[in-house]
Amino acid sequence: MSQPTAPSAPRANRRRLRRAVNAVKLWITTPHRWMGWLFLLVFGYLILVPVGEIILATLRIQEGDARRAGGAIGDWTLYYWQRTFTGDLSRRIFYEPLMNTLIVSVGYTVLAMTIGVTLAWLLVKSDIPFKKFIGFAALIPYIVPSWTIALAWLTMFGNDRVGIGAPGILQSVIGIVPPDWLAYGMFPITIVLAINYFAFTFLLSASALATIDGRLEESAELHGAGGRRILRAITLPLILPALGSAFILTFAQGIGTFGAPAFLGIPVRFYMLSTQLYQSAGIGRFGDAFALTLILIVMAGLAIVMNSMMMGRRKQFTTMTGKGSTHRRVPLGRWRWPVTIVTLLFVSIAAFMPITLLVWQSLQLQLGNFGITNLTLTYWIGEIDGMRGIVADPRVRHAAWNSLIIGLAVATSTALIGILTGYVVAKGRGSRLARVVEQVSFLPYVIPGIAFGAIYLTMFARPVGPLPALYGTIWIIILAAMVNRLPFASRTGISAMMQIGHSLEEAAEVHGAGFFTRLKRILLPLSKRGFLAGFILSFVSTVKDLSLVVLLVTPQTMVLTVLTFGYVELGRRQFADAIGVVIVVLVLSCTWLAQWATKTNPLEGFGGSNR
């Protein structure tokens, strides 16, 4: 075709035109590149711009602070950072919450690790019976929202010295008044978060243990090493990097959590960074709140950086299936039954006690009276003090509807975005664009939910670029939840797409299938399991989330979780418990549905969804 000699002008033009048309065609039919750019543009806008705004906001005088900061609104200032780090109040609004956050986080992480690693070892390496049941029950406390466990804790250990003074079971039934440290504050928050997160460490360490080739341990045994020696010399060193990673990821997941610290800490004026941030925003001190927001982001970011330094590559422990090598079962011997009984007891209590307590308390006419005669369905279907039971209350229905709509919208969009992100990354494997897309999709992981809420609250309170003011609409919640879910969704999408070979798509392309045909006929069908799992997990974690939405909802956009929080603040525990029960049932059945539909454990990979 090509002619090295000078062509006539019209032919050259035609050729140039054809080349341009072909380039455009190629650009459209190989969409992973422009999709990558589009992705960067949209999510850069939705992630980087808000963070930039927050940084600027801490450096300028905010609404209502003009007099105290000595300037006009919008002036440049270091007032907020001085206030946070060196001011008279810094101890109260920063250092104490920081210390509390660190102590609680290290505490629950150590506890969760201890429990999780022990469980993982028992299930993967030992001959403990009832493995299926233990594995099933151990995941439940991770699936239910942490604030329901916190509420159940109060039902058990609450005392009448704090708040409205409704006693828990311990005081009411057994007659022991639990001391404040047991009922409220640091200790129970640590325990509740440990219960919430041990399944996460369990999953991570179980997958690490499962990848150890049993032959290594066998050969040690042949050479005369005892059980303990094998554990010390072979098993532990092999899984140590994974354990370190699990430690950091667990730590990072919980530092911004809001529900448990709010329910168990605020009544005794015990503040962590998340609850202090909430309080500062609540009293209109947005400068202070934003400084804490950034500190939380930096903390989570540091943890993640440490993790990837430790791991080299962070993708290492995303699978539970591991290799097909022989698995060595360590006989527990005479310890078999005691260990079994303790394990069964523990996982059963952690899994079923909270929900039982919530159901019970939701049926109490008078709060804190655990007698049989005090049982009533009033808070479910009746009416009391002009407030209707949750089944009949239009406000609850409205909130349930909002939760559902938001959950579905977020689930659909994130599952789709996840698959498309996966496509961009898998197709462009090795290219810089693909790498940057992957990194950007991971960024929201370091922004704790409540920090995200604070950011979006400011960012979208007024029209921004092409978007109208979203504050007060459900769009702001959907958008925030969507971006918040992005790391999980794109993780799922990338691993699903990596499994689909290029050749399938190329074959279709040769036969003239356009991108959308390929998407519909090849990519989606082959990744439908991943899509479904991503869909349901997104739905579940959106419906049960409190941290992200607590700053964003308004009466019109009220959702179930925030309504629950409101009921607790109003001293209406029974209503809160009843809604909590509904959410727990919904969340559990959806997760099991996903498990059943995909015949896999959807919590695998990236440690699931609890934030």
Binding site: Y45, E53, L89, G163, I164, G284, R462, P463, G472, L570
Partner: protein, 394 residues
């Protein structure tokens, strides 16, 4: 487009790719900051004229014409801080055949919400009724986001103080009440300061001053009446006070907090705690809970004689630039009236002198022996310091 993979790692800052990204980010930031809300005097004046407000309010109002104009307007949004308003607007809609929507939010949330909408250029708020005058003034009046309106008939009978800079709807007081476990006729303390002594440790409850404007107002009054607080200290302890804080008012708050005061999140929780307590127990909240004692929900006695009470009020005004000014006028007039404001007259004190309290509500403003009333300026001046003070000593 494809470039060969680089053999060595580049410095991220010199990477053209990152530079491009940073450039895009920066330009997006600029777009974001481009929106600025501005107050256009001429446009405001035009709106006032059209809405017949401010200088254009006629000397005598033609209510038939207002109703007729109201029916042509889009439905009004009424921001209000009490749930009782929902019933009141339902009856209003029934009476006038209108479709006003009431949005019920907490005091501070409501003001913050209206401010955010105002700054976003949204003019959703048609009528606003809410307490916390200090925050109201700082966030809304300073922006001219709310416009004063007083129906002529009311202006004729009301004290001008009660109509400036906005019309007041009703009064309430922040007051103390105590457990009926002892003799209900004897107030179980002699003086505010007694509540800071050991026998009252963990036996006083209030709502969180950081979220409750009533409680914040009470402590504002305590601080602005610091001299009297010092005198009361001497009366009770027989010696002059030794200060560890700025004045006797702050000192009282600090000692009360040090005395393990129970801080709860809801007014009802205070009432509940006082009702179920055995032995001496005191709580602070608004007098509106008294209604629930009359109805038998709670069991406590109001202290009208020993401790000072603090009077506060709710402002009501029309959202500037609303498209439904006539509906706003009608609703405001209705809420001020005997019939329209009925849900409040059973528990709060009407500012409108023509309104009689509902049958069965036997509490009067005059029943309280000592009433403190900080000015709005005092509140504005003190509230920030007080909030910091609470954060420090909570």
């Amino acid at each position: 487009m494809f470039r060969p993979a680089l053999a060595r790692k580049e410095n991220i800052m010199t990477n053209p790719w990152y530079r491009r990204l940073v450039a895009i980010g920066c330009s997006l930031l600029l777009i974001g900051f481009g929106t600025v809300s501005s107050q256009d005097d001429a446009a405001y004046d035009a709106w006032l004229e059209q809405a017949q407000l401010g200088p254009y309010q006629p000397a005598e109002e033609d209510w038939d014409a207002i109703l007729e104009a109201a029916r042509e307007e889009p439905p009004l949004t009424f921001y209000v801080a009490t749930s009782r308003a929902l019933g009141a607007t339902d009856r209003f809609n029934e009476r006038y055949g209108l479709n006003v929507e009431a949005i019920n939010l907490g005091t501070n949330d409501l003001i913050e919400r209206v401010r955010r909408e105002w700054d976003a250029g949204l003019r959703n708020a048609g009528l606003i009724m809410v307490g916390n005058p200090a925050l109201f003034q700082e966030a809304l009046l300073s922006r001219n986001a709310v416009t004063r309106y007083v129906p002529r008939e009311l202006e004729a009978v009301m004290d001008p103080i009660e109509t400036e800079p906005l019309l007041r709807h009703r009064y309430s007081v922040g007051t103390w009440y105590y457990s009926t476990d002892g003799d209900p006729d004897v107030v179980p303390y002699e003086n505010l300061w007694e509540l800071t002594t050991e026998p009252w440790r963990n036996r006083v409850a209030t709502t969180d001053p950081l979220s409750s404007s009533t409680i914040l107002m009470y402590f504002t009054a305590v601080v602005s009446n610091a001299d009297q607080m010092a005198q009361m200290y001497e009366d009770y302890f027989g010696e002059s006070i030794e200060l560890t804080t700025e004045n006797a008012g702050y000192e009282f708050i600090k000692r009360l907090l040090d005395n393990d005061v129970r801080i709860v999140s809801a007014q009802r929780d205070v009432a509940e705690a006082v009702s179920v307590a055995t032995g001496n127990f005191a709580g602070m909240g608004t007098q509106s809970l008294y209604r629930l004692v009359q109805e038998g929900t709670y069991d406590f006695t109001l202290d009208t004689t020993v401790n000072p009470v603090v009077r506060t009020f709710q402002w009501i005004g029309i959202g500037s630039y609303t498209e439904s000014p006539n509906q706003a006028k009608l609703l405001l007039d209705w809420l001020m009236s005997q019939e329209g404001g009925a849900p409040w007259w059973a528990a709060d004190f009407a500012v409108n002198p023509l309104v009689d309290p509902t049958d069965g509500f036997d509490l009067r403003m005059a029943d309280f022996a000592q009433v403190w009333e900080p000015t709005v300026d005092e509140m504005v001046e003190l509230s920030d310091d007080l909030i910091d003070f609470f954060l420090l000593y909570r």
